[in-house]
């Protein structure tokens, strides 16, 4: 091989994998941060992700435009979030139970409507070749950065700013931290939480569109391997901070790329074990951040799991 770089291939493959694999993590976790900062947990984002992937792919096939697909996926995600938000605003409705129902509903309905779109090929989202300065093909491949990854980075920074320096952001945090204080200020917590859940759903839908329109880049029923659920763990890991979410998404993405990276340099035994790396990381994170006698630092006070 002309460009044999030996074991250097592993970190380069992990870097490339991290950038590719992290985008859905990033969008779903940003959506979940928004929802949880308002005081609700939406476990249904896995279903939103899969439905976003399906609807985005179908739209791209039908219209020939990948961006139309992203828009439809976001819209579908917002509708899912809105349904979750409205249901949870009813008295005595538990957000976690509704989330699980929405997850099963989202994947089920995506499989049902997605059947005819397994065969057709949709246009892909464009990527920016940030590796142009290098003549290593491996590095060039690794630095093919998708537009949505850049958008996700911008979104993370924007959300961090919004939570700190805008009325909407502060209102969201008030509602997520203390329903009583929010009411005393004349805010309507349920309305704000529902809107936050809808926006969070839209983000997750975009994350789904990335799956089907860029990487892996096709629609099938095994498309998501639980990214939507892992993103919830990732939010806890990132302490509900959007910028930390970006780092955590890269970390989870890199862990997810470990198996394929090892495979690419010819390590063929036991690499299935490395495919489990993200899940092991999830478990490790949850154990490491747990405590028997206090609520987690940084956790919004109104979350049903931290109360």
């Amino acid at each position: 091989m002309e460009h044999d770089i030996g074991l250097w291939g592993i970190p380069i493959a992990i870097l490339g994998g991290a950038i590719r694999v992290s985008t859905p993590f990033l969008f779903v976790s940003l959506g979940e941060v928004l929802t949880e900062r308002a005081g609700r947990i939406n476990l249904g984002l896995e279903g939103t992700l899969v439905f976003g992937a399906m609807s985005g792919y179908a739209t791209a096939v039908l219209t020939g435009s990948a961006w139309a697909g992203v828009a439809v996926a976001a819209l579908a995600g917002a509708v899912f979030g809105l349904v979750h938000g409205i249901l949870c605003s009813l008295p005595k409705v538990n957000d976690i139970a509704i989330g699980i129902a929405m997850m099963l509903f989202g994947t089920g309905i995506a499989f049902y409507f997605g059947k005819p779109y397994i065969q057709p090929v949709a246009p892909h989202l464009p990527a920016i070749p940030l590796g142009f300065w290098s003549d290593l093909p491996q590095l060039q491949a690794a630095l093919q950065v998708n537009v949505l990854f850049v958008a996700g980075l911008g979104l993370a920074l924007g959300m961090a700013w919004m939570l700190r320096a805008t009325r909407i952001g502060l209102t969201l945090r008030v509602v997520g931290d203390s329903t009583d204080a929010a009411r005393a200020m004349g805010l309507r917590p349920n309305v704000i939480r529902t809107l936050a859940t809808a926006a969070g759903g839209a983000f997750a839908g975009i994350g789904g569109a990335f799956l089907s329109l860029y990487y892996p880049g096709s629609w099938n029923e095994g498309l998501s391997s639980g990214q939507g659920l892992m993103a919830v763990a990732l939010v806890i890991f990132a302490r509900w901070n959007p910028i930390a979410c970006f780092g955590a998404a890269l970390l989870f993405g890199g862990a997810g790329a470990l198996g394929p990276a090892l495979q690419s340099v010819g390590i063929s035994s036991g690499y299935y074990l490395f495919y489990a790396a993200p899940y092991v990381l999830t478990l490790g994170v949850l154990i490491a951040t747990s405590s028997p006698n206090r609520a987690m630092a940084g956790a919004p006070g109104e979350l049903s799991i931290t109360k």
Binding site: L170, R173, D177, M185
Partner: protein, 509 residues
């Protein structure tokens, strides 16, 4: 603002109520109360729990609409339909529990509580404005720390600063020191007093601590059972006068008739220490004994450790020290309680002594469901449970739709009766009771007191904690006064002197 209306003048406001009356159905919570808070004065509103203090201030702030009566703000009549109107007039309230958002910083809390928060907050400008505001205040709070990291005293100071920041010129403080240490309380109230003296604000403070009234307030109004029973300048009044107004000397109850003399010692508490609910103060009971056939009443103003003592005795609060029942060490386990026949009627029985969603019959069976005579049982005897429950519901006149109704659906008095039915059935050696008649109607009160007395006459040792001094006087053989987490005073009921008891309740020996 309505056109033609005068703008609110800067500086402290004068606020007065005229003949304020509030009825809830047939119950008069507030009866013709008129008080006037002069501009720049620190006015204390004193009274026991349920005296109508909260009702009065809620009427003033527009949370309640008074049945009759008027209010004036700055000398002119004001109609306050809801808290927004009150805020617009410059009236603000600091609640007993904090209303700050824990994860936001002090600065963020202040800015977001404003009604005109801009869509995009220019933090550089806001910080400058906040620093200028703070510089003009007599006390300071770190602005860039999340509230959850502030001490209770700092939070309370920030609550007060927030009201000033929002332009309020008349503040109602609802027991502002209940979560503070004495030092923090002195500091916060000292600052409030300085603000009053500077003519920035007028203050109406709800309290039941005499010490705070004498140390900080200019004037005091005393409420008792919804009526204004006394008013005056603090300088002219002593503790004894205020205690007398608060407790009421007119209708001092005499002990109920009773039979039999006290027997051997049943409960003995020695050197018990525990943290109080806020974790800041200590409860320390050096020695407390209750004999068979005796009612020992613990009087005290709420928040002086009675609740914690009850929790220690029921095993809800860890404590050091020695508790013995009938000579044997007692750790409030179910086995011990069963073997030694210890029973409880805690306050808020629905929360402390019931499983709200389980049925009345099941709740009544809590003491006996696993007993089969002297032995224990594995399979429940549903029929027996129901039969026993039916019999007790009948005997104690518990009003319930059915034995299978969840106990949470019952009214407070009926929950109380159901728990009393459970706890007073069978052999009872020691009965520990806390506020058994709080919030009950007259007939229920008489009946429950008669049952407690009957248990005493049958030889049960009774420890009664109550904020209602009349109740303590009526039922007790011996009266103890609890103050600041300690037993401050003891007297036989027969020769008890109300004024002395009131004096000790107020925390001044």
């Amino acid at each position: 603002m309505i056109i033609g209306e005068d703008p609110v003048l800067p500086g402290a406001l004068e606020v007065a109520t005229l003949g304020m009356t509030m009825r809830f159905g047939g119950f008069t919570a507030l009866d013709d109360v008129s008080i006037r808070v002069a501009p720049g004065s620190f006015h204390a509103l004193l009274g026991e729990n349920g005296a109508g203090k909260s009702t009065l201030v809620k009427c003033m702030m527009g949370f309640y609409h008074a049945t009759s009566g008027q209010m004036t703000v700055g000398g002119r009549e004001a109609r306050i339909a809801d808290p927004r109107d009150a805020h617009a007039l410059g009236l603000g309230m600091v609640y007993q529990h904090f209303t700050l958002v824990p994860s936001l910083t002090a600065a963020e809390n202040l800015v977001i509580s404003r009604r005109d928060t801009p869509a995009v907050i220019d933090w550089a400008r806001e910080s400058r404005a906040l620093r200028d505001f703070m510089a003009a205040m007599p006390f300071r709070v770190p602005l860039d720390q999340p509230i959850s990291r502030l001490a209770a005293g700092e939070k309370q100071k920030l609550e007060i600063l927030k009201q000033l920041y929002l332009g309020r010129r008349f503040l109602i403080l609802d027991e502002p020191t209940s979560v503070l240490t004495p030092d923090e309380a002195d500091e916060v109230l000292g600052h409030v007093r300085a603000l009053c003296a500077a003519g920035e604000i007028s203050v109406l403070m709800i309290t039941h601590k005499f010490r705070e009234v004498t140390a900080f307030a200019d004037e005091v109004s005393v409420l008792r059972r919804g009526r204004l029973v006394g008013q005056g300048r603090v300088a002219d009044l002593g503790h004894a006068d205020m205690a007398a107004m608060m407790i009421g000397t007119s209708a001092a109850r005499t002990p109920l008739p009773r039979q039999g003399a006290a027997g051997p010692e049943v409960l003995s508490v020695r050197g018990v220490k525990a943290r109080d609910r806020s974790g800041l103060k200590e409860i320390a009971i050096d020695a407390l004994t209750v004999k068979a056939g005796e009612v020992v009443g613990i009087a005290g103003i709420s928040g002086n450790g009675q609740m914690e003592l009850m929790e220690i005795l029921t095993g809800q609060r860890p404590a050091q020290g020695e508790i013995r029942v009938a000579g044997r060490p007692y750790h409030a386990t179910r086995t011990e309680a069963q073997a030694l026949a210890v029973r409880y009627l805690p306050e808020e029985p629905l929360r402390n002594a019931c499983a709200g969603r389980m049925s009345v019959a099941e709740n009544i069976a809590f003491r006996s469901f696993d007993r089969n005579g002297a032995a224990s049982r594995f399979w429940l005897a549903g029929g027996q449970m129901r039969a026993r429950a039916a019999q007790l519901v009948d005997a104690f006149k518990v009003k319930t739709a059915s034995l299978d109704a969840p106990i949470a659906a019952l009214s407070g008095g009926n929950v109380q009766r159901a728990v009393l039915a459970r706890e007073l059935t069978g052999e009872v050696r020691l009965l520990v009771i806390s506020n058994p008649c709080f919030g009950l109607d007259f007939s229920a009160v008489a009946e429950i007191r008669a049952r407690i007395m009957a248990a005493r006459n049958a030889g049960t040792a009774v420890l009664l904690m109550s904020e209602d001094l009349d109740e303590v006087m009526e039922l007790s053989d011996r009266i103890l006064v609890m103050s600041e987490g300690r037993i401050a005073f003891e007297t036989p009921a027969a020769t008890a002197d109300l004024a002395t008891i009131g004096h000790h309740m107020g925390g001044h020996a």
